[in-house]
Subunit: 334 residues, 4 copies
Amino acid sequence: MKIKVGINGYGTIGKRVAYAVTKQDDMELIGVTKTKPDFEAYRAKELGISVYAASEEFIPRFEKAGFEVEGTLEDLLEKVDVIVDATPGGMGAKNKALYEKHGVKAIFQGGEKAEVAEASFVAQANYENALGKNYVRVVSCNTTGLTRTLNAIKDYIDYVYAVMIRRAADPNDIKRGPVNAIKPSVKVPSHHGPDVQTVIPINIETTAFVVPTTLMHVHSVMVELKKPIEARDVVDIFEGTTRVLLFEEGRGFSSTAQLIEFARDMHREWNNLYEIAVWKESINVKGNRLFYIQAVHQESDVVPENIDAIRAMFELADKWESIKKTNKSLGILK
Amino acid sequence: MKIKVGINGYGTIGKRVAYAVTKQDDMELIGVTKTKPDFEAYRAKELGISVYAASEEFIPRFEKAGFEVEGTLEDLLEKVDVIVDATPGGMGAKNKALYEKHGVKAIFQGGEKAEVAEASFVAQANYENALGKNYVRVVSCNTTGLTRTLNAIKDYIDYVYAVMIRRAADPNDIKRGPVNAIKPSVKVPSHHGPDVQTVIPINIETTAFVVPTTLMHVHSVMVELKKPIEARDVVDIFEGTTRVLLFEEGRGFSSTAQLIEFARDMHREWNNLYEIAVWKESINVKGNRLFYIQAVHQESDVVPENIDAIRAMFELADKWESIKKTNKSLGILK
Amino acid sequence: MKIKVGINGYGTIGKRVAYAVTKQDDMELIGVTKTKPDFEAYRAKELGISVYAASEEFIPRFEKAGFEVEGTLEDLLEKVDVIVDATPGGMGAKNKALYEKHGVKAIFQGGEKAEVAEASFVAQANYENALGKNYVRVVSCNTTGLTRTLNAIKDYIDYVYAVMIRRAADPNDIKRGPVNAIKPSVKVPSHHGPDVQTVIPINIETTAFVVPTTLMHVHSVMVELKKPIEARDVVDIFEGTTRVLLFEEGRGFSSTAQLIEFARDMHREWNNLYEIAVWKESINVKGNRLFYIQAVHQESDVVPENIDAIRAMFELADKWESIKKTNKSLGILK
Amino acid sequence: MKIKVGINGYGTIGKRVAYAVTKQDDMELIGVTKTKPDFEAYRAKELGISVYAASEEFIPRFEKAGFEVEGTLEDLLEKVDVIVDATPGGMGAKNKALYEKHGVKAIFQGGEKAEVAEASFVAQANYENALGKNYVRVVSCNTTGLTRTLNAIKDYIDYVYAVMIRRAADPNDIKRGPVNAIKPSVKVPSHHGPDVQTVIPINIETTAFVVPTTLMHVHSVMVELKKPIEARDVVDIFEGTTRVLLFEEGRGFSSTAQLIEFARDMHREWNNLYEIAVWKESINVKGNRLFYIQAVHQESDVVPENIDAIRAMFELADKWESIKKTNKSLGILK
Ligand SMILES: NC(=O)c1ccc[n+]([C@@H]2O[C@H](COP(=O)([O-])OP(=O)(O)OC[C@H]3O[C@@H](n4cnc5c(N)ncnc54)[C@H](O)[C@@H]3O)[C@@H](O)[C@H]2O)c1
Ligand SMILES: NC(=O)c1ccc[n+]([C@@H]2O[C@H](COP(=O)([O-])OP(=O)(O)OC[C@H]3O[C@@H](n4cnc5c(N)ncnc54)[C@H](O)[C@@H]3O)[C@@H](O)[C@H]2O)c1
Ligand SMILES: NC(=O)c1ccc[n+]([C@@H]2O[C@H](COP(=O)([O-])OP(=O)(O)OC[C@H]3O[C@@H](n4cnc5c(N)ncnc54)[C@H](O)[C@@H]3O)[C@@H](O)[C@H]2O)c1
Ligand SMILES: NC(=O)c1ccc[n+]([C@@H]2O[C@H](COP(=O)([O-])OP(=O)(O)OC[C@H]3O[C@@H](n4cnc5c(N)ncnc54)[C@H](O)[C@@H]3O)[C@@H](O)[C@H]2O)c1
């Protein structure tokens, strides 16, 4: 029996999760909400996706454009088992009352506070936490990225200090700057460390910066080791870790631009790089400190997490069953 | 009998033309040349494409990396009917002697001078010029872009003045700047006007600028009309013109970023936007002057032209037969 | 008797006009308004400039920071003969009633509609229009740039088509994008043409684009000539035109970055380039068409215009007297 | 008796050091070398600075442009006591033989290897090392930045991990990218740590990234403390440290753009920010770890170091005498 899924907020994350849902044989995409009849709304219709108005107030816009909607969010909530909330950060919390009213399970994204859900979620780290739950928060692109590699070596971790160099705007967002500046989060350590701790209980502190690029975030990770390990072993661990890929500068991967070119060469939809990219040559151990550099495709790394969260909430599969199924459906390499 | 095609220079243009060739039922991709065993070379191999060393001097690099090549460019030239030269600008002319020595037809790209070939080529404008020819030059991304729309209205043209705002570097090129400047070509009019005239005999002058973006070029076109026409008629003409698409700002297409997002939403490989994008609202006639603004995806607009050029050179089909066949094979909308 | 000048809005334009006022022997800077006690407010105080709260509502912010203000805008209006309104675009019109109430003359900036003032103003073009006026609008950075060169050759002008490539954000504005896109004004011709006509009655149409840079705007100008002229003559005219400088790519001025480096090498405050920069090699005549490319330093080209406007409104000097005096005071080269 | 100074390489660093030399009452600028008669060469002449051809091979360029030079580098070397080598990185080492031949002292910049000189130099950290020396290396902009703050707290340092987010190109360099990418140095730890150790013997490791901005570098510094200290104490130490300034985001300093705006508001030549800018709110101690974020104006932070190096090499003054004299001459705040 397929789980009926709705997407509230068909934007950068919403449209990718919607696509991923259509790739699952145990889920059915019932519909998505839009706030205006833009080209993304027309594209959804072309793909046969039912489009609902995000709320009553947006109906006139659709009518004026002659764009037929299937109803409003509340109509969609009547037809789904679970709603994936991918509205702008902070808006999910406000929608929760509505989801409760309609008795549907809900998945929130990283732009919401942890308190909005019963569990913060990164499949490979704490899949079990979401089993049977009604409200789950898929953590942010950065927290997902940090968790995937740090979880793989968590037995070696005494302390982690990660510096996050973040893109200023997504490729499709032309409103946000800066055009020519580096903007630090002066609150040090930044909120990202605690956010990782909502998923894995490690000792981590972070600092964060915004720089004028759209492609990916980059993390400079330093781990103080509880017990010794060789760089070679860390390479092996990451080679064996799902949704983490090692890239060699020696093969031409000299920046985030080439990582995205790889996703384009693989003909990935929306040049999605679901996997966290670790530069192989950057993995180095000096004394009791491990260093490595990784890059995160913020537009897509959380997409497979949304799929696994649905499976955990409806107990459709255990952890590795779901992860393997999701990976296969989206062409994730391992 | 399939035409055997080789690609000399598997880069931004080369790898897209190679892919397009594999999509044609009347052509066969025999192999491509690379100068080094980078991730693009490994990807080619993964796709089952035979990789040749661009020349003798590059063999050691491949051997050192344990990357087996099928031979050198000269070996490839022995096995093909036509070589598509997609090496960096200016290098094609130097390779011509080699192509002549091996008696293969050759297609050159826009980075070469017109004199390198018997005909400069934009399928919808002068397909017949390339019929049976041995050496054809597919003109540059900008000239292709200007030709597609101007050719459609050439009977109305007395004089054209086009200003070209060009991207500084392709997405995959991290060496070139500027990071924060506008760089004019102070030679006014620029060389682009005459380049259009190698394809269609219209009275055109251009000026060109480089700006810090990677996504697309944008052209501001002003046409002084020989005979009157309404903006509505121009819209109809462009609606009926192959490889030209009208986009509405009203539907959210407010910049080149949203045009590329459209290509991503269409799940186009490498987010290719083969078609020239004309902003519908920008088409306006005032007195005897027609204005319109268009955008060019420099990485992909010339790809279908290479396919049609092969057909013309081997007289496999007439103009519209080839164009229709190429469009269908690559998912070009019209 | 010095004219008492106040500045409402000590931002990018306001602080430069304030500085220019202090450089005039026939004017006195009475005070400026700020909305918050930021580093620009503290710097004003350091320079001995009286800082007023832009309005009542901002007083608490200053009190909380222990930053003493001299009162509010209305207090400042009581002490000045003329207020220079350099508040964000559109806000000037709202302030006009207040200026009328306090019986002070007012100068508005280019972000306001022409109707807000009795005259739109570019000193060298229509100084006389502002003689004795109460409300004058110094036109925008782009309109000022176009007017300075076109006014110099207006007797030769039959028709002008100018394409404006505009910076996305000022250097000090990190909120606005785009980071990686070209954004056209799809309304063609754009509003800039008519704005030039508020100063000089020429037949001009324009199109405008925003690109990801902060340094300067660049204009590609095409003039259809009423009577013949040689490129050499245009060079001579511009050489003799105040607040217009010819730069040679041959001497290293290959982009807007080098024009700003020149202003930095001249140790100009805030790297101000008051003068419009025309690339000498770009000046070319072909048939009845004149082409040239110019760059505009949007942060400073309107500053001398504000000073001359004050002189015209209080009839302190005739046109060339004021222009020469202003140029000398600010180190404008000619 | 004034020390006769020559500058070999009148570029980004060279022209700023030349200017600084003219501001010293115990030094005399004899001349500078240029490779071509560009606008910087003409500006030098305008300022009355003697311009020499960097070498014989460049003379024809100057002759062709009718630009008179005073001779070649070798002629300049005959007239000076010390040459400041500010040629592109790596070129200084090649010039050393020439300097030795002419028996002149020489100062090299951070683009050279430490071995080129008898001492690597940051005035406030190891002024004495350069006393009487013939060859001194002023370290790079990044090493100078790290040394200034770390030297002030070196007694508390057990271990330092600094992540450096570096500008892609100087404002005046339009050749280098990337336009849209983050490029890591995959060699971890990067060479910057050891470079700091050529000046102060602390335990430091670094990682480095290039991002698409021109204004400043930014460092994220984490110090593991040898003995406890409060954030307040670190603030006091930095407040008392020369050539280090504390900036508050609360006052509007939200990014490197506002730090440069501050230098512009201070009417600093070339918007020089000689001082290292530390964000006050970023200074935080958690457990045995101190965090802080600083920004470095790469174009100018090394300029005062060149002046102090000259004084040390000719033993004109002791450390604090020279530093105070240099600071006063350049308007360095403390
Ligand atoms: N973009 C990223 O890099 C990224 C990465 C990981 C997680 N997230 C998180 O995912 C969530 C969505 O982010 P995004 O980048 O997709 O945003 P987005 O702006 O691209 O998409 C948000 C969508 O919600 C729609 N919307 C706006 N108001 C709405 C309303 N009242 N009701 C319903 N829909 C509404 C918008 O029209 C838009 O289509 C946020 O919590 C964000 O923090 C974003
Ligand atoms: N990129 C664009 O925007 C664009 C658009 C239209 C046309 N063109 C034209 O297409 C041609 C190729 O441009 P591109 O952007 O694909 O260049 P590119 O640099 O992306 O690719 C060139 C390829 O040729 C290879 N190469 C280098 N030297 C070689 C040699 N000696 N022999 C064989 N191969 C060699 C390089 O390794 C690279 O793989 C040029 O003429 C260019 O002007 C480029
Ligand atoms: N920046 C440019 O490129 C440029 C060039 C030419 C003309 N202009 C015009 O000059 C005017 C000012 O532009 P700007 O770039 O200096 O803007 P800005 O944002 O840099 O400065 C505006 C100043 O006004 C202050 N302010 C905001 N609200 C206010 C209020 N209610 N009352 C008083 N002050 C208030 C702001 O705090 C700020 O200090 C606009 O009309 C603009 O169109 C700007
Ligand atoms: N720009 C920075 O951010 C920065 C900061 C600190 C230190 N440095 C170091 O300072 C040195 C100079 O760097 P820069 O940024 O000023 O370089 P630059 O390119 O701006 O200036 C170098 C100058 O040397 C001239 N030159 C080139 N070849 C020459 C030759 N053969 N002989 C003499 N002069 C020659 C060039 O014409 C140019 O004027 C390098 O070692 C660099 O690593 C640079």
